[in-house]
């Protein structure tokens, strides 16, 4: 089956496609179109809602094309763009620092536990692996960072806990074991290279696909995280972008709930259209930049494959 499919596109045009292939193609196209519509529709509704007057959303609901077109939601956001820009800045900071340091530590660890001459490599690997099965739980985790390390309120608490993940270390080790044959490192050793030279000049160059994969995981993880801000931030200027947005929504719902028990003001909560505009502002740049990263990611893997 797979072989047929591979073959079909390159077949000479004169050969008629069989009915089976045609049906298959029709079904495949319909499914793909349906799938992309399902993916794209909500986004269109968000964009259109962000340009719609708030009262219209409330009385008439959402629509595909904006009714009562207005920029007011964006004006509200950009009247004081300081907060959202700060959140953006911090998110870039966490993503760059976290991904950079994380990649370095994961690669170095992966290299060490992949070396056969390291006697305790299995023990160390097991210790790393072990943490992915048995965790201390949420409260000890929190106490560790907040009380023992005293990181509460610092930006370190936001990028530090996610630097290494057992899964990524083991992924990297497996990759190094496969990509760098012993013979190469051995010959380098004979030529007088130390571990540092071997790592930098031999292992790293063939490791690009692995770096791309692990790097993307780390970067996406950092970009999309909100939980650590929620736990450790004591000042809104250190918030991650996703937390900034998430908290905005939570504040709205929580305050509405609270308002049935406590006398408090609920008047200045963000309106529907502002929430939607927020979502556009937050995701827009990522949408533009994601396809490029993804292309790099895909090509990173295939480059590695062809070279082999």
């Amino acid at each position: 089956m797979a072989r047929d499919l591979d073959y079909e596109p390159s077949a000479p045009k004169t050969i008629k496609k069989s009915t089976g292939t045609r049906i298959f193609e029709a079904v495949a196209y319909i499914l793909l179109i349906l799938g992309s519509v399902i993916c794209v529709l909500p986004f269109i509704i968000i964009v259109s809602g962000s340009f719609t007057d708030n009262a219209t959303i409330l009385t008439k609901g959402y629509s595909l094309l904006p009714r009562d077109f207005t920029f007011s939601a964006y004006q509200t956001i950009f009247k004081s763009p300081k907060d959202i820009l700060q959140a953006y800045k911090m998110n870039f900071y966490y993503t760059i620092v976290g991904t950079g340091l994380g990649l370095m530590m994961i690669t170095l660890t992966g290299y060490v536990i992949s070396r056969k001459e390291f006697k305790y490599r299995n023990t160390v690997s097991f210790l790393i692996y072990f943490t992915s099965i048995f965790g201390g739980g949420m409260i000890p985790w929190y106490l560790m960072y907040a009380n023992v390390l005293g990181l509460k309120g610092s930006t370190l608490a936001i990028w530090f806990p996610a630097l290494m993940s057992p899964f990524l270390v083991i992924l990297m080790r497996t990759f190094i074991v496969g990509a760098v044959p012993d013979a190469i490192t051995e010959s380098a050793k004979i030529d007088g290279a130390g571990h540092f030279t071997i790592f930098c000049r031999i292992v790293l160059p063939v490791l690009k696909p692995g770096l791309a994969t692990v790097g993307l995981f780390l970067a996406l993880g950092y970009w999309n995280d909100w939980y650590r801000s929620s736990m450790f931030s004591t000042n809104s200027s250190t918030w991650q972008l996703q937390f900034y947005l998430y908290d905005l929504l939570n504040a709205t719902t929580a305050m509405k709930q609270m308002a049935s028990n406590v006398s408090m003001k609920t008047a200045d909560l963000p309106t529907e259209s502002v929430k939607l505009a927020m979502a556009v502002v937050a995701t827009g740049p990522v949408l533009l930049f994601y396809p490029f990263v993804q292309r790099f990611f895909v090509s990173g893997i295939t480059v590695g494959a062809v070279k082999g």
Partner: protein, 550 residues
Amino acid sequence: MKKKVLSMLLSMTMLAGIMTGCGSAGTQSAADQLEEQGVTEIPVAESTTAAEEATIESAPEAKELDLSQQVDLVFYVMGDAPQDEELVEAALNEKLLEKCNATVDMQFSTWTDFQQKYANEITAQSADLIYIANWLNYGQLASSGAFEELDDMLDTVAPELKAMVGDGSLNMCRVGGKIYAIPNTWPEYVCNGVKYREDLREKYDLPVPDSIENLEAYLKGIKENEPNQGLLTVTTEESQGLKTGFDAAWVLNFKYPWVSTNGLDYGLAANYDSPSDVYDYWYSDDFTEDMKLLKSWADQGFWSKSALSDTNNSDAYKNGLCVAEVAGQNPNKQITAIADFENAGEGWTSEYVAYGEVTNTIYPGHATQNGTAIVRGCKDPERALLVLQTMLCDDEVNSIVQYGIKGTHYDVADGIYKNLQEEAGETPTFPYEGFNTWNLRNGDTKLPQKTDVALQEMFDKYEKLGATTKFPNVNIYDGFSENYEAYSAERSAVSNVMRQYLAPLEAGLVDDVDAAVTEFRDKMKEAGIDKCREEYTKQWKAYCEEYNYQ
């Protein structure tokens, strides 16, 4: 070889995709679970250190505190920080250094995962002063030793505070006979009730909806005159507890003088005049009767046929999509509605009837609704209490905490608070009660906002009504906190049955009420309601006895 590596890498990436997907979902649900467990798994703080105990025991009568050492305290409050947090904190600390040689750092929970973080904060003992409330499980936390006992310290360190708050309120904060929290001193009436459109009522000469019959007549009258007008936008969202399953059922409060809105949990009920006399509601004939009433309302089209799956649109009333709201309303929301209608300028007016007005069960908020406690493990509990006294009783300090800096953030005109930035059309950098310190409201000096004048009028009316009840102006129910550790499985089963069988029943979306009621009752038995009820009743009766609500 290379191919193998590649395929391995690819499969691992895919696996990772799956794992990260599941992973985040997993952690989230774990967090949710913990949040739910927040009630039962209160982190038990370590017992007081010997040194602390010694200070408490050897405390002499009304001693002078040694203020020579500066103490830096952390005050943990709920919600989001105001933009001018630092500015106001600096002003506050200047005063506090002068008066108590102490500083306070306000820390905010934000509204994300706040219950989890609140529990963390107490476990980690990193805060000194903390906001407490019954909805944050004050009773449970206090009985598990999370807070410092204040009885002796109040006499020695803060007699002024003790006198101001008064024994009545302080006694309501007692857990196991000890005081663990200082309530605010602004009595607040959150009497649930019905908000309705006075302009429409007048226009069509309909009765004031102050009883089930009158509400029905009001809704019916509007439907006859304006067939396209939406009547009620009731959903299941205000009814997530263990009392009701659908918002329309709140109207039954017109009929029963219950000790709290919607009765007690698990379909039990007790009247305000005889709280310890618990009786059965779900298995009574009254219940079947009431369900038939709600079905007749549903059949008349008072709410949407898809009400069970609708999401709550809290702006529906404001935008004229419904003509009354019956669930989760309170005087404050009525005040907001008045302002909203004024802004809309369509000539709409809103009026409010509290359920308790009709059944004579008006009472203010419970003392533990907004209070402050000292976290066990606090650096210096005595100084913390002194700081708390200063923040509550000292007018100068209190106004900085509550309203910010006079002239920058707010001003007072004719005894009424006005936000200067709001008036200038800017986003306020320190709004009214910007630190969310509802626990530091001082009833004697609280500056009213413009809207508070009308609110205060309502409160005054309720206070008079409340004084005529058997327990004058005492909120009985909200001091109670259930400990369901022993039957949490049955409890969640009961909750599920409520969502599945009670909600459609109360929404009138069943064909045969009698059959549906029987089915609901049977399912409840299967879910283990008897065990829940037995335990709950025991705890409730013990509570009534402890506070002498007989």
